[in-house]
Structures are given as C-alpha cells and as structure tokens.
Subunit: 394 residues, 2 copies
C-alpha cells in the first residue's frame, strides 16, 4: 500500500492569503469600495516595449524558420547575458552557467531543498514569508526561528545558534527591513564558519534606492562559498502573471564533496523543462535600455504609493517599518489591537484589506502589512480613510 | 554543517539526450546534412490562431483594465473549462478542481513524488523515459523494473509483484506501444487491489487514432481511486517551447486518510505560482474549434512522417514497433548491432541521429528510437538513406 508523505498533515490548514481573500470576498458582497492592500501583486500593466517583444516573439513561433521548441537547460543565453551584465554593472562577476532561469522565486526557493537532506536544521526569521516554513515542513527539515522584532529593527544578526540552512529575505517580506553590507557580512561569515547555506531571497531588490543596502548577496566577500540568490522579474518588471525569475548558484558551493551548482543543473534538466520562449524574450526586453526605463517608471509609481502611506501613518503617529526600499509597510496595530483584530476592524470600519502580521509568525502579532501595489487613486482614498485612525486615537 | 542529498550521486552521470547531442554536434562540425530524429521536439510552428491569441493576450497585459497578475491556484477556469469539456466529449466526467494547470508533464510527474513517502516501491517499465527513474532515485524510492520486450510486445501486464507507485506511459516513450482498454483495466484492478497509485503519463495521447487504445486512464472503471493522469500541450499543440500541461487528480484518491487532491492543491499553492496568463490563453485557443483544426493538421503531418519511416523499414525488412498511434518508431537494430554501436554506425554512415534503446533501460539494448518530429523533406531524405541498410543487409 502506498505510503503518503505524512508531513503534509503538519502544515497549517489554511494558507494565510486564502483566509484573507475569503474575508475580503465576504465583505465585497456588501460593499463595492473595498481597497485591497493585502497581496503583493502588481497592478500596473506591462511596459509597452515588453508587450511588443511578446508579440514579436509570438510571431517568431508562427514561422518554421524562427519557431523554438524546448529551451536550453537553464535558459536562453540571450537572457542570461543580460542578467550577467546587470550583475557586472554592480561589480559582481558571475558566469552564465551559474544562472538558472525559472518560473519564479517561489518555485526555486522551494525546489532548492531537493538538494539537501531532511536531516538539516533551518534558521528562519519570524515573521516570515510562509513558503519557507511550509516547504521545510513538507521536507521534514527541523526549523529554528530567529526573532525579528522592534528591538532589532526586524533585522536579526547571528546569535550563536548553529543552523544548516539560513533563509534571508532582504528587503524583507513582510517587514520591509533591508540589510546593509556590514550586517549581511556577519551572516556570510557565520555561514562560512559553520558551513551553512544562505538561501537569499532578493525578490524585492528592485525597490532598493538607498545605496547602503545590498542589492545582491554577491556584493559580500565570501558569499560565493555559502549563498544561493533568488531573483524575480515579478516586481522589477511587473511579471507576476508572466512567471519569470532566476537563481544564481555559484560554482564554489561545495559541501560533502558535492557541487551544488552541478546538482542544481541536474535537478533542472531532470525535473523542469524551462520557461516559455516568449516569456524569456519579454524578460530580456525588461532589461533593455527602453525596458528598464519603463519598468523604473512603474517602480517609482509604487514607491510614491509607499511614501503616501508612510506619510499618512506618520501624520497620525502610527509606528511602522519599511515603506522605503520596500513595497511593504509594516505598521504597528493601533489601540494595542492584535493583528487579526485590527484586520477585522480595518476591513469593517475603513474597508481596507491588509495582512495580519501574526500570519507571518508569532513576532508579527500586533503588526500589520500593507502593500503599495495598487493604483494611486485607490491609495489616495485608502490614506484618507487611514487618517481616521488618528481621529479615533486622539 | 549542511548535509547534501547524497542520492544525487546515485544518478547516472550523463543525461541520455546530452550524450546524444554531444555526439551529434561533433559530427556536425564535419557534415552539414545530418538529420536529427533523436529528440521528441516538435518542428512545425504554432498554429495561426494560437499565435493570434498570444498577441491578443499580450495586448491585454498592456492595459490597466485587462492586466492579469498572479494566476488563480491551479489555473484559470477558462482553460480548465475547455479541458473538462474535452474529457466530457470522451464521456469522462471530471471537476475543475481536479484539473491542475502546470508548465508541463515533466515537472508534474516529477513533483508529484513530493506527496509520497520515500518508503515506497515503484514499478517502472524497462525501457522507459529516464525521468521516472531519476526522480525516484532523487527521492530515494526503491525501484522494481518490469520487462518490456518483444515477447510481450512492450506492453507488460501485472505479473503478481506488488509495488506502491506504478508508472505507465501510453502511447509509450520510447517504444510507441499503446494499451487497449482491456489491458489497462488489468493495471487499474491490480492497483486498486494493492492500494497502489498509477502515475499515467498520457503526453503522447494526441497521436492515438485507433479507437481501441485508451486516450485517458479515466476511461477505465475504478481508475478514480488509483490513478493520476498527466497530459501536455507539447505534442497536441506543438507547445514544447510554450510550456503548458495539466494533471488530473481525482478527489476519490485517498490513502492513509490523506486526500491526494487536497495535498496536491496545497503543494501547488505553496511551491508553484502558475503558468503565464498568455500561455494559458494560448492553450485555451488550441482547444477551440479553429485551434483544434489547425493542431490536427500538424499532427497529421507528423503521422505521415511516422508512416514514411515505417514503410521504409518494412521495405527493408527491419522489425519495429510503434509508428502508429505514436510519434516514435522503435526499431530493432539491424545486423545484430548493439544500440550505441548502431547509433555510431547510423550517424557516421547515414548521418542520421536517433536514440540508442539501451539509454532507456537494459531491455532497450539492440533497439533504437526514431522520432517523426522533423520536416517532411528531411524525413524523405532520411528514408532514402535508411534504405541503404537494406542494401548492406542483402
């Protein structure tokens, strides 16, 4: 008789965002002016040049001379070349065969655990993007949590505890906190000392505008022997519905005589058939001169949204983190409310949807995540409504 | 210190198709008229209506009103509806929440093992698509092989041995053999009796033209309590470079009190972010009246190729299997040659590339796989060359 992976029964029953959506949908039946600042999904359309490239690539697929079947393992070099040059512009040198094009960070940061034994311990910040926790549970990896809280500005540093797999997300989801080079160096040194692996989720890197924060872990000396970096076009180019990201696995990553880059190459060749040609062309275009210019415009639009929310919260003296160098505002729930309590209050009183902090971990209790991914007009209305929190407060 | 998944070192060093490609490339440096009948990659362009749909969907992504971000978990219902109706036209009733849109069969038939414990035994036909073997090794699942050979026409039936996970690919890669309803019923009964799961790979189903063969395992009574079906647009619509497939997981699949459909839903939500909107629209279009008409034309083109090769082999009295209801011709190597020996011979003497049967398992020794996925003119030349085997033989 088949034996089922019993660990699935250890997963929390409901995926956080599903519960949020259900509550929102229920309220939508009564009100048509609900503003959703919960999910990190982009709202602005793709840039014109990216769309033109999609159509051009589609036309190529219509002609026998230019039709493309299976993508090369790891992705097309036209896209890898562009990514490599992006790194080079930040003085980081990587090779094309260290870049793996994928359908997104979520898939890769989950699937990477295939390369490691269940017999590892992971260090996961709390609060955190639930996918790290769930995939460790699915795999049977023992989890140690490291507290992120107001005391450490939600940016914990190594505290002496040893773990094999270290998850770092910077700029952070949900807290918006970002590591500086100095801080990240401490993690790299710690990982090298313990022969641990850092899984570095840089999905929100495009939001960094302040140079003191790291855009890539490969800015840090020693990172090539301990880190894997996950990047995405979801936020930088609005690709949540396009599905493209990439993972950088340095060749120096060797543990127990096994080369992690070679293992990932083998995993890719065996369990994945690549990203659609049209999508890889679109991603390439987003890194062109014109593509980047247009994508930057969209990023600035979201940045202004984040600023608007930040200013509003400042004006009513609500404490928050993030909002700069990050699309997320991590606010303290007013009136000492717990986070689901504040969720219900905000939804019913101000018809704004956010994400209760406790959904990301115990240290998220009394906190709340707002996303800047919405249209400016909606953000404006949301800010007007948020101001009412100040009226109640005073 | 991080512990690596040591099982990766049990994998065969080179992926079969990589070795084939390397040998081909080396020969290409000397000759420019090599005809590649090795890999199962389509050559005809996408149908006109599918391409138009891609461009239309791209334009939707350019406008704020029609832009789409994250896909719903499991895929868009516009595509699921079409797939459900396809099943209904074959008198098979399934629900939308039993259909999971994915980036292809390779990913899903690999990732499905996430739901099962390592403590299972799988039954894998030999010869076989190497991905089944490799993913079982990666997961640590114990493999039992079942012989496919001339004696059983490469269509083995249950032989009394018990296994937990049964891989069936019909029409088969590499042998081209397809199961009838009666034969498949025996597998379903056996699986239900032993509480095993059948992983049914129907990636080549579109090639079936003879009604006696199964197009879906769900044609078989009792299959909903034991089978998961994997289908792909790769061959039916020429989507190898588009990446779209789907998996059907019936709700009746319950083992050890765990519902496999719910587990797969959770796995999808946690480790995958769906297929690009543009691609899902393209797949939808391939199932429209016009789309199906055009895709059928391409399938017939490949079918004629297979017939041409089959007739050629018949004319020189070379024994083979498949070639009907399948894109593959599974030929016996002439002159009693072993399969790599014949590979080298065919490449150097006739400048044709195929896949040595032994690459698919020990029972593939003395056999050779030819694919019909090439342009008619190339197939014609290949057939002229293959005829020379007859001259040598006589």
């Amino acid at each position: 008789m088949i034996k089922v992976e019993k660990r699935y029964s250890n997963l929390a029953n409901d995926f956080l965002f599903k519960t949020v959506a259900e509550k929102r949908n229920k309220m939508s039946e009564r009100f048509d002016d609900i503003i959703d600042l919960s999910i990190g999904d982009v709202k602005l359309p793709l840039s014109r040049s990216v769309v033109e490239k999609c159509k051009e690539a589609s036309d190529e697929m219509a002609k026998i001379e230019t039709f493309r079947g299976y993508s090369p393992n790891g992705g097309y070099s036209f896209l890898k070349d562009k990514i490599r040059k992006e790194y080079e512009s930040g003085n980081i040198s990587i090779n094309n065969d260290e870049i793996f094009i994928s359908d997104g960070t979520k898939s890769d940061i989950s699937n990477i655990l295939d390369l490691f034994s269940s017999d590892n311990t992971s260090l996961i910040p709390d609060p955190v993007y639930p996918v790290y926790v769930d995939t460790c549970i699915m795999k049977g990896i023992n989890i140690t949590y490291i507290d992120c809280n107001e005391d450490n500005n939600f940016l914990p540093l190594p505290d002496g505890r040893v773990a094999d797999i270290i998850y770092i997300c910077s700029p952070n989801n949900p807290t918006g906190a970002a590591y500086t080079k100095d801080e990240l160096s401490k993690w790299v040194d710690y990982a090298n000392y313990n022969k641990s692996v850092i899984l570095y989720d840089a999905a929100y890197e495009a939001f960094i505008s302040d140079e003191k924060y790291c855009r890539s872990i490969f800015e840090i000396e020693g990172s090539r022997t301990c880190a894997i970096e996950f990047k995405s076009f979801s936020k930088s180019a609005g690709f949540t519905g396009m599905r493209c990201g990439y993972t950088v696995v340095p060749k120096e990553l060797v543990f127990e005589d096994m080369n992690i880059n070679k293992m990932w190459t083998r995993r890719h060749a065996t369990k994945f058939n690549g990203v659609p040609y049209i999508i890889q062309r679109a991603a390439e275009e987003s890194l062109s001169y014109e593509g980047e210019r247009e994508c930057r415009k969209a990023l600035n639009y979201y940045r202004e949204n984040a600023k608007m929310i930040s200013k509003t919260l400042q004006s009513i003296s609500v404490k928050f983190f993030g909002g700069e160098n990050s699309p997320y505002i991590w606010m303290k729930c007013p009136f000492g409310m717990k986070s689901w309590e504040f969720f219900d209050y905000l939804l019913s009183e101000l018809r704004i949807v956010g994400v209760p902090g406790v959904g990301f971990g115990k240290n998220g209790e009394y906190f709340f995540r707002l996303s800047c991914f919405n249209l400016k007009d909606n953000i404006r209305v949301a800010c007007e409504r948020l101001k009412k929190l100040g009226d109640v407060k005073s």
